[in-house]
Symmetry: D3
Subunit: 290 residues, 6 copies
């Protein structure tokens, strides 16, 4: 069960409206690697967790924190969209391309041309659970597999892609208020990368999971002949120089063998004949159907 406190987790107040930046900022709210993705991923991983309590509790801690990050971004975007036409014209004229483009022009054109039009027509100056091109957030951005190593690896990825996107957005604005909020999100992403990496280490230390993931599946059932072969399917041999193509495998269970010209081990596929009742094209004409 959840409760909400009125204050935000951190400041989310821009120095001035900037509807074009509002469009861009949507990426880390409702995009593939945005805050809704981590919020929903962590909550479902927690609700589905059947492992030790310390992991479950940790997942719920961070999942709950992320609801607050979604809140901060939505609040920030709503304020970035508060462009009074008159002020917007004046500000824009000073320091941005929009201003340059706007001499004598209708202000509505300028605002809407650079914006996500749905920020006017659909939300009326509010944030939306979509990304920077207006594509709606969807649940296939998340995963809760029941296997914590597989999932924590996803979580490290999400915090990395997310921090990468925030760092790019940091450089797309000079608004001090926006940058202040982003500096907070960057810091939390740093913590969360560390948190999930620590959790992966702990899973191994606790004997619960290891590489290859899932470790509970008996490795002898795989075709071990090719478990540690590096297969080179692309012209060029630069890849041979990497640590992935020689020496011991990272999981400590094999020795990598580099195969320059991987042989085909399978047959030439031969599908069975067409079922005539499905009107597929057969190898030879069917007898007349009349």
């Amino acid at each position: 069960m959840f409760f909400r406190q009125n204050q935000l987790q951190y400041h989310a107040k821009p120095d001035r409206p900037d509807p074009v930046y509002a469009k861009q900022l949507q990426e880390v709210l409702g995009g593939q690697w945005g805050e809704i993705s981590v919020m929903m991923t962590y909550l479902f991983q927690g609700w589905n967790c059947r492992g030790p309590a310390k992991y479950r509790d940790m997942i719920m801690d961070i999942g709950t924190e992320e609801i607050g990050h979604v809140e901060m971004l939505a609040t920030m975007i709503a304020q970035l969209l508060e462009a009074s036409p008159v002020e917007a014209r004046e500000e824009a004229a000073k320091d941005s391309v929009i201003g340059a483009a706007m001499g004598g022009a209708r202000i509505e054109d300028a605002i809407v041309a650079g914006m996500n039009p749905q920020h006017v027509i659909v939300t009326g100056s509010g944030a939306a659970p979509t990304d920077s091109v207006g594509y709606p957030w969807n649940a296939r951005y998340t995963i809760a597999s029941g296997n914590m190593l597989a999932d924590f690896r996803f979580n490290v990825t999400a915090e990395s892609q997310g921090r990468l996107q925030v760092s790019r957005l940091y450089q797309l604005t000079e608004d001090k208020g926006v940058r202040d909020m982003l500096s907070f999100l960057l810091a939390r992403d740093t913590m969360h990368q560390n948190q999930w990496l620590a959790a992966i280490k702990e899973l191994e230390a606790d004997g619960l999971e290891m590489t290859p993931c899932p470790s509970n599946f008996p490795q002898k059932l795989e075709l071990t002949d090719v478990s540690y072969q590096y297969l080179d399917f692309s012209e060029g041999s630069e890849s041979k120089q990497g640590g992935w193509a020689k020496g011991s495998s990272v999981d400590g269970k094999g020795k990598i063998k580099y195969v320059a010209e991987p042989p085909a081990m399978g047959e030439v596929p031969e599908l069975g004949p067409v079922d005539p009742r499905l009107q597929g094209t057969p190898k030879k004409p069917h007898k007349a159907a009349a």
Copy 2:
């Protein structure tokens, strides 16, 4: 530029048709973590790669291999769908629930009720680029961010989730031919997990990337006060026991501080007034609009 060889990379021949299993197997062909996802992810990461040649070449090697995996799965599924109604009835009657359900029943019902209906109506006994519930593959399953650490972390995840799903599918069938193919895919996933983990190590050894990712963004620009704080937003203190809540951070750059009752650091948000031209609901009635 690409070429194709007629033989498959490995055997893909079931002992007998099984249309219900064909539906399930679609998950690792066209699902979120299926072979199309890794094929497309790696190809785009390679095509967009601006880093050292050994990485780019390696990415293209594995991307090209994955096209062959998609081929194997599509071929396998097409054969699993080759249920001649008569044979299907006989086989099914022996050892599966479908047989049990089929005494005296119309065979078409049995085949289609347990199947993905599109395997009959749309593909006419062929594989489709969709997952096990018939949802079409889409490109938001992939990422090619230009930052290799962020992307390789995704790749480790994909090989982990993929191997997990294959291991589950292994146990949902007893068909020796299918299991033979799956044992190959499991082994390659083992290799590929190792490969991406090795590549991550090498990125760090080469001084190109490290935690927190992206490492080229100056960490001093983040709000370092909260970069290494563990914030506990969920009742229960089990999470305090984990390595993520104490000691040095995994990146070696901070000391974790556990915060039992995280304070709100932000303001109570206060949005600006409604722009009357957008017909939002204001705080007080507008003067009469007539």
Copy 3:
């Protein structure tokens, strides 16, 4: 900012596993009218709210409650999926079609054939943010328009469609634990329908919004000739009997006029010529392009 308490808002414990029902129950978790939809709708309406504080606070109250409903449903579904194959076989044999179908059959077949296959392959016995056919939740199920009357009408709808679906699901199970949880959700939906209807009344009483919505747009700018005409475009005159086709309009601003054979008031459309640079098909052949 949000906090989480360990206890659920209400009981969510089934008497026994039932993976087929788990698939069905997903509808009110991650479907068009499920709990994720109302949670996300209300949270965004609240975060974007520029109206009086009592409305905003009310929206946040209910938005926060809904996170807890998502939690209850996810927890319930995870437990419905806990079918140990052996127990499942025994239970099923007693009182459901799955049992009937399973004599001598492989248990894996039975479990998976009736289930959403992703409940095995993807989530490993966990809930997913998808609906009963496995379609992922997406943000186009929500609306936060900034106009409270438009949005509250949506909210009444969501609570009505949601309660309708829960009432259907109530009758698709006889599990007492499940029904207990559903009886709670039904009651809350009753409250929430009343809550949004009361809020609509209050908007009107406060002079903030009324019909036609949005009321801040000057009605004189619309083509008032047709504002209160009932136009009959479909054969049959039963529709003439309804209150919508005669008397005063509900908004009290017009008198309805029934038009049996609506005249076309517009022109026969005539598009301009093709821009030859776009290779559209023109009215007459272009001169030779060579």
Copy 4:
């Protein structure tokens, strides 16, 4: 069965082309709340209707009218896209930001940069069944539940959100021809809001449906203890002042009770152990799998 008349229901002719506005106007053609949504919603509600003939006939009347609205918008958009480069340059230079931006620039750049690129590349100056960000219309925007109260509430919402969006679009243009068409759509939305509100009243008067919806489900099966409780999950007590938190419920069946600190009524959830065959992470290490 349907027939089509050549004239449009109302004028749909812009004074001049405006490709940027064409992009915006797509929202009310193919967006979540656009004319395709109401057309398809009403048609399916009518085709699925099992209630009294007067309702079904009314639903079909309006559903058929909406096909004509889709036609008007598509026709309008096609004409807005008829910008001859030369004329466009001249017009634009006079009164819009595009002109300001275009001195000495290539006209193709100006047209395409401000447009939806698919209006050039895909449709070649034609309308598309998509919204203002190019997202395709999809059927999850519709509902036909079989319960008329639930559905008519949706319909009131759709006419409200739709009229709101049209009113915003009205202010984003000064083209007299466009505004003329919008004034017609606004008026019809006024009628349709009244129409559905009247239908809701009539459903109640006919004894067919009432609040809580669905009314045919026995209310005694819900957990009546919480059917009329206002639960305050968010800090702040402003919500206590509203009509939703005190007095009689709108449905006349209960008295609202305000609960300032809602108690958790459920258990701390405890999921069962992992099924080892699904490779989830267990509470304790499994015995070695080798």
Copy 5:
């Protein structure tokens, strides 16, 4: 502007309910190649048509007819879903697998397990604008490009894929009422294939379009060296035997040349360096960012 007549274009009445078949039949209502797709495709092609009046009128004729086909299918599906549990049990027991599976089982299980669960929970025994796996219809199934040859080729395809699916569905049922309706749809698809093929011939006869499409683009601007080369990128030389690999091209403008081992004509791609402000991985470590 459109009108509706009460009678259906053709009979749409099943002999008996069959909810599993209802699920399958959805494919040709709301699937990729279903009636909604052709209805929307033709209507938009007509509304966007800038070519001769005879084409535009023809497109509108067929587009309007297709609305009536959608109506027939929706009506049929609603009736197929009218399974009174008792009757369903009796019917099913006689001649289908559902009956076989249902001895002693709860009827609700049987109905829902074989059905699309949304046919119960969401539509309450009504049709939905979705396909046979429950995936919602979306507008990317349509095309209206402004070039009639490109579009009419699509239309021939749609009528072919559609007739193929109907023919498969014909064989999945023995219900005489359903087959009667399908025999009508099959016949109309025959007509419509002929209609579009005739229209393609006429476009060429009228000098408006020809192969290669679009014919208004000057062919001399293409790299004519490879315009008529057959390039063999896949092992095996069977493809050499086909008419596509020798002789004159179908458009009469070239002679086909078979190239057994297609040479690469391009460079080894070399992307430029990373923009450091985007945090991509560079070829060499950036100077320390601190």
Copy 6:
């Protein structure tokens, strides 16, 4: 099994960066009719092919070639995005609207406002598998039905729509390097239109398929009365002049009959009563549910 060669199939090198054009060019990479669509369509058609070897081999040849086209476009787009801000400003100022808009403006604004923001934030100057409005590629753009005539008709369409889009894109740029690459793609589309048209002819010559497709379904099972009737559902009789409305049908099997006022041949639909357990609205009030 697939291999990759380092060189591209043809040149893919722009003269200079152009991020706005990069956005537009995405359409033919990841759009409905882009190269990913044909690549995936052909590969799946080949893998599912049960017809004569010459067809299968031909399909695989072209499917493999298309992977190389995807590669060329991705490479081109990555280079178009390599705008160093300084150079971009200088170039832009010379000859495009972006330059005009940029005097004194912040360069980041200019780059991002005209771009797809995901080209900065998500891919960091790389291509993405999406279309020109950022909508992700999805597998419902493809078809592999098992019936070659139906599928080859799709393929002709895809090569026509694709060539049409490339020809439009050709005119939206003056970059010689881009135009060089497009001239190659145009030529290959010319070949591929011819190739699929030749394959259709050959299918007929081989006696495998013909109109009406599918030809293996006995035509006598369709309602032959209406197989060759032209039905005019739209006002206006221009359509009567076309070859589709008179004379022999293209398939040579019928004589077209023009029907000016198509009669309804079906009944007025009458759905059965509501199942009370589904809470649909009935014709008359149910007895009190309490």
